[in-house]
C-alpha cells in the first residue's frame, strides 16, 4: 500500500495566539476491510490505516483509532488550539508498518 498513499491537509497558515482553528485531513488509502472476498472466494487480507494523530509542537491534539469501518481515503475534521507559532504534525499508521507524515507550520501574529 505504500505506493500512491498521499496525505493532504487543510490548515490555516496563520492564527492568533490561543486561537482555535479547524483542520481537515485526507489520505488516499483503499482501507481494505479484511471482510471482502476475491473472485475465487479467498478473503482479501485487511490493510488499513489503523491510527491517526495530530500534535502541535509535540503536544497532542487528537489521537484516533481507525477500524475497518472507516471509509476509503480516511477523512478527519477537528479543532486545534494554537498557543504559539509552531508546527502541526500529522501521522498516519498503516497496517503494513508504514508511517506517513505531514507537517504544516502555523505563524502567530
Amino acid at each position: 500500500m505504500a505506493s500512491g498513499v498521499k496525505p493532504r491537509v487543510k490548515a490555516p497558515k496563520k492564527a492568533s495566539a490561543g486561537e482555535v482553528v479547524t483542520i481537515k485531513t485526507l489520505i488516499s488509502h483503499k482501507m481494505e476491510s479484511g471482510q471482502r472476498k476475491d473472485s475465487s472466494g479467498n478473503v482479501i487480507p485487511r490493510s488499513i490505516i489503523n491510527r491517526f494523530t495530530c500534535d502541535f509542537n509535540g503536544e497532542n491534539v487528537i489521537d484516533v483509532v481507525l477500524a475497518p469501518a472507516i471509509s476509503t481515503n480516511p477523512y478527519f475534521e477537528f479543532d486545534a488550539t494554537i498557543p504559539e507559532a509552531g508546527d502541526l504534525k500529522f501521522t498516519w499508521y498503516d497496517d503494513d508498518g508504514d508511517v506517513y507524515e505531514e507537517t504544516k507550520s502555523v505563524a502567530v501574529g
Binding site: A2, V5, K6, P7, V20, V21, T22, S33, Q35, N50, R51, D55, F56, E59, N60, V61, I62, D63, V64, V65, L66, A67, P68, A69, I70, S71, T72, P74, Y75, F76, E77, F78, D79, A80, T81, P83, Y93, G97, D98, V99, Y100, E101, E102, T103
Partner: protein, 128 residues
Amino acid sequence: AMALLPLSAFAQADPNAELVGAPDDFLAGADAAAGDLTLTAPEIAENGNTVPISVDAPGAVEVRVYALGNPTPGVATFRFGPLAGSQAASTRIRLAGTQDVQAIAKMADGSYQTAMKTVKVTIGGCGG
C-alpha cells in the same frame, strides 16, 4: 511539507489503542445516559460506503463510534489531547445497511454519555 517515512513495524500504534471493540467493552458495566454529546449523521446516506458523521462531546476525554449493524460494530476511537480545540471530530464511515450508529463519550469525571442516530442506506431509485 510531506515526508514518507519507511519505518519498520516498530512504529506501530499503541496496542491498547488498536481495538475499538463493542459498546459493552467500553462501558465495562457502567451506564451511559444522554447528555451534551451530539452525533450528527444524515437521515439517508448518499453512499453506504462513505457516510459522513460528526461527534461533539463537550468535556469528553474519549469518544467511540459504533455501527451497530455492521459485522463488527467498532468504527473509531477519538481521544482528545491537551491542545484539542474542542471535543468534536468528523469522519466518514462504512455502513453495511440501514442501521443505528451509536457514539459513547467518556467524560473527564469517568461518567459516560451516549447518542444514537438511525442512518438509512437505500438501494436508490428514481424521482421527479
